[in-house]
């Protein structure tokens, strides 16, 4: 462990005092003079041509200012800009029940709602399909004209010689798995407030986690130059990927503001959050793993059908992430992937915490457990044998600069007593192990660009103090706490000496956004570089004052002095005053560009590339009630490699949140769809997420780790820890009752059914 002054301390979140007092402002808390409210009318049909929309009666209602439809913004967009498929409001036809067809602006929400009722939409209902496997066969359902057989995209990759390796393997196991349709269920519904100033400049306050892509999309859909638009992000009530894509609330607020001349706020109801969705892709997966007698993995063959719902979203990216995820955290010398992302008439799926990783991880870790048993090995030994170490390069040319994955496995196993318990607990009680990893940022932007992915500006003066400007957006993960800590460490001041301005496309320098666990690593590098730039300038002046060479100076706790000999000391802010007197304003910028690694000639192989990776291993203990089928997760022992934690308390929070979120998906979370495509449980009453009484005991350890490529050694911690959760639970259930579950969620009904079948055999 390195000796840091600020890094590694569990400081309270900078925004926590305002949040506990109820003073923190989220988008829906904002008011502007003359503000009006927008509401969206949604389709009751899952697939239908829009024949006609009549809204005169809505406009006649006193207090209604404007009505817009898809025809008012016919420009398609998509987060993957090469394949735009989405609209602010449906154009020509609707592709899922709940899709927006018109939007209203009115003086208050009640009037807007009444106006929605007065809008008449004439539909010609089309046949619809809700299952991705069926969708591939249904010639009578054409969701998008360009997508033959409803297949949005098919991706194939092969590395090495899988057929040969499988033929030569001592043991080959093949299984099919299915995962469920789950939602992020962040607590704050999407909200957007748009305002056109008299000079035509548009400001959008939004609950987005990616202001930059919202900025681009507003420019595209409204046909305004980006420099006439500002996106500003107040507090965000959680995102988990769901607020990464542009929502129609944001576009409708802007379009209605343009139309009415009033600021317009659109805040979703909870049911609309489910309609916007962009949650995890349900996957139909077949995986084949070949191993040699000693447990060495020889080859993986993976076929994945992803249920994309109605639109493109992050689809292609998620598809190739599922491909990338089989190459780590174990050495896989031969791998083949075939993936198809398929359209269905349901709310669109997209990015959700650990995107593309959680589903194949469930399959792979379940299978490794069974393979180990088949070989008469401990599942722990098999994993340890294949686990990657620092400096590994996958067959797909992904370089892993740093890994303490083995240490994660060892720690989780030792702390939990896994070896003593596994296979030895009484019927109904079980213990399971799983490993996982995730990227710490991406190597590429979604559109072709060479610009840095993150940048930061630090301005220091005797009036405002030290101000850090970063485009990185705090969505609750804590970047507004962690980035000032990085700056403080480098500058040698206290963390609370630094003021942060973040998440604003006008006020802060460029940052890609809060996704792909990229902020601490990527934005952290930019912040550190900016701080180094301040030091370099400041020390030149301080050196003169102190009579010491500048390259010998350091700053600790706000005092600048020579690191080699005791002597005169200069206060940081006094040095700043001297600098400004002599040279003028003091500021510095930093930026970060990840290595642009990839693999030429292999489709999709740039996806999954990351400057570094975080790892996690978990041992989970469960109690299965043989009478009711209910699974109680008793304890999760987690050990994670996030490099050097900048703020350990925040890391723990990410780990604990990941475990509980993953547990919900493993055991009960699932959006149910009616035969005509309506969501049956689009509420937090019927879509169950874990409550405080459901949580297991959690023992999490941050293993000793330092990534030399990272800012103060820090890697991701927000998405790696969710990867092992589901398979560790599935493996524990298998240990408890001897049944391997291949479909999520593992509900009491499925457990009772399996126990019954087992008894009959």
């Amino acid at each position: 462990m390195k000796d840091f002054a600020v890094v590694g301390k569990s400081l309270p979140r900078v925004d926590a005092p305002a949040k506990v007092r109820g003073e923190a402002l989220y988008t829906d808390d904002l008011l502007l003079p003359h503000m009006v409210y927008g509401k969206i009318k949604r389709s009751p049909h899952a697939h239908a041509v829009i024949k006609k929309i009549r809204y005169d009666k809505a406009l006649e209602l006193p207090g209604v200012l404007a009505v817009i439809t898809g025809d008012d913004a016919p420009q398609a967009y998509g987060i993957v800009p090469q394949a735009p498929t989405e609209y602010a409001l449906a154009v020509g036809k609707v592709r899922y029940a709940g899709e927006g067809v018109a939007a209203v602006a009115a003086v208050d929400e009640e009037t807007a709602e009444e106006a929605l009722e007065r809008i008449e939409v004439e539909y010609e209902v089309l046949p619809a399909v809700f299952d991705p496997v069926e969708a591939l066969e249904r010639q009578d359902v054409v969701i998008h004209a360009k997508a033959k057989n409803n297949m949005m995209y098919e991706g194939k990759q092969e590395f090495g010689d899988v057929d040969k390796a499988m033929a030569e393997a001592d043991f080959v196991l093949e299984r099919s798995f299915k995962t469920s349709y789950v939602n992020h269920a962040f607590l704050e519904p999407h909200s957007a407030l748009a305002h056109f100033e008299a000079n035509g400049f548009l400001t959008v306050y939004s609950s987005t986690q990616i202001p930059h892509y919202l900025h681009r999309t507003l420019s595209l859909v409204l046909d305004l130059p980006m420099n006439k638009i500002r996106v500003s992000v107040p507090m965000v009530g959680g995102g988990f990927g769901g607020k990464g894509e542009v929502a129609s609330s944001e576009l409708c607020a802007a379009l209605l503001a343009q139309r009415t001349g009033h600021p317009v706020k659109v805040t979703y109801e909870r049911s609309e959050v489910f309609a916007q969705h962009k949650g995890r892709h349900p996957c139909v997966m077949t995986m084949k793993i070949g191993v040699s007698q000693d447990g060495t993995i020889q080859a993986i063959d993976f076929d994945n059908i992803l249920d994309g719902g109605a639109y493109g979203g992050w689809g292609i990216v998620v598809l190739f992430y599922t491909a990338a995820m089989i190459h780590l955290p174990y050495q896989v010398p031969n791998a083949r992937f075939r993936g198809r992302r398929v359209y269905t008439n349901k709310p669109t799926t997209g990015a959700m915490r650990g995107l593309g990783g959680v589903q194949p991880r469930f399959a792979m870790e379940s299978m490794l457990e069974d393979i180990a048993k088949e070989l008469g090995m401990s599942p722990y030994d098999l994993r340890l044998k294949n686990a990657v170490e620092s400096g590994y390069t996958t067959k797909s040319n992904v370089y892993v600069p740093h890994s303490e994955f083995k240490k994660c496995l060892q720690t989780a196993v030792e702390r939990s007593g896994y070896r003593e318990k596994q296979g030895k607990l009484p019927l109904g009680k079980g213990i399971g192990l799983a490993g996982g990893y995730y990227i710490s940022g991406t190597a590429y932007t979604l559109y072709m660009s060479y610009k840095p992915h993150s940048s930061a500006l630090i301005r220091v003066d005797t009036e405002g103090g030290i101000i850090l400007y970063t485009g990185a957006t705090d969505i609750g993960q804590g970047s507004n706490t962690v980035l000032p800590m990085i700056a403080a460490e480098e500058l040698g001041v206290r963390a609370d000496d630094i003021h942060i301005v973040s998440g604003d496309t006008q006020l802060t320098p460029f940052d890609l956004g809060s996704f792909a666990s990229r902020v601490t690593y990527g934005a952290g590098q930019a912040v550190r570089m900016a701080a180094q730039g301040i030091n370099k300038q400041l020390y030149e002046v301080a050196a003169v004052e102190l009579g010491v060479r500048a390259d010998q100076l350091i700053c600790r706790e706000g005092k600048i002095y020579s690191q080699y000999e005791p002597g005169p000391v200069l206060d940081f802010m006094a040095a700043v005053a001297k600098y400004i007197d002599a040279k003028g304003p003091l500021s510095a910028m930093g930026h970060y560009s990840p290595p642009r690694k990839g693999m030429k000639g292999v489709q999709g192989a740039n996806i999954g590339q990351s400057p570094t990776f975080g790892f996690s291993a978990q041992v989970t203990e469960v109690d299965v009630d043989l009478e009711t089928g209910k699974v109680k997760v008793l304890k999760v022992t987690e050990a994670g490699d996030c490099g050097q934690p900048i703020n350990p308390m925040s890391v723990e929070g990410q780990v604990e949140g990941s475990i509980v979120m993953g547990m919900g998906q493993a055991l009960f979370e699932e959006i149910k769809v009616s035969p005509d495509g309506r969501l049956l449980n689009a509420s937090l009453h019927d879509y169950k997420i874990p409550t405080a009484v459901d949580i297991p005991e959690i023992d999490s350890t941050i293993v000793d780790s330092y990534d030399p490529t990272a800012p103060f050694g820090a890697k991701e911690s927000g998405e790696g820890p969710i990867q092992p959760v589901i398979p560790a639970i599935a493996n524990a259930i298998c240990d408890a009752i001897g049944v391997r579950f291949l479909e999520l969620p593992i509900t009491p009904e499925k457990i009772l059914q399996a126990l019954k079948e087992k008894k009959e055999r």
Partner: protein, 163 residues
């Protein structure tokens, strides 16, 4: 047709014109302007809109404003004394029980109601006490810890007073 009502919120009377179907959460947020009370579901499922009414936690998104007259309503803004945070608020900050913060006001008020009726709750009782407040960020562990720490702080205070 609007009706004139008086709501007592955080010890202050507010005269308000509301329609009979206006919900307490909307009146508190939009008419009184106290936006610390959050709306996460609008159906009484998530607990983000929790306020205290005569000391009891109430879901303000399924409570009519007109039915809230004559009660003492406490929102999150009424918990701290000036600059000084309430011990529960303090513990939430110190223990890292706040991430996105959207569930926090409701969570803290449920915790206050719990500690008012049970000053020394077990871990299980704390979990039961906040079972109606959903949080998606923290996994609840640090929230439970914060409430437990707050109970200690509050208990300590009482002992001092007794002495």
């Amino acid at each position: 047709m609007k009706k004139l009502i008086t709501l007592n919120i955080n010890g202050q009377d507010f005269d308000l014109a509301v329609s009979p179907r206006d919900l307490l959460v909307d009146v508190i947020r939009k008419k009184v302007g106290l936006t610390g009370t959050k709306k996460g579901c609008g159906q009484g499922d998530c607990g983000a809109c929790t306020v205290l009414m005569d000391g009891h936690p109430v879901l303000s998104c399924i409570t009519l404003a007109v039915a809230s007259q004559g009660k003492k309503i406490q929102t999150i803004e009424g918990l701290s004394e000036g600059e000084k945070l309430h011990p529960i608020q303090e513990s939430f900050v110190e223990q890292g029980a706040v991430q996105c913060g959207y569930c926090t006001p409701g969570m803290i008020l449920s915790a206050k109601a719990l500690l008012d009726r049970n000053p020394d709750p077990s871990e299980e009782e704390i979990k039961q006490g906040i079972a109606g407040n959903l949080c998606r960020c923290t996994g609840y562990k640090k929230i439970v810890k914060a409430i437990s720490a707050a109970a200690e702080k509050l208990g300590g205070k009482e002992e001092e007073r007794v002495r």
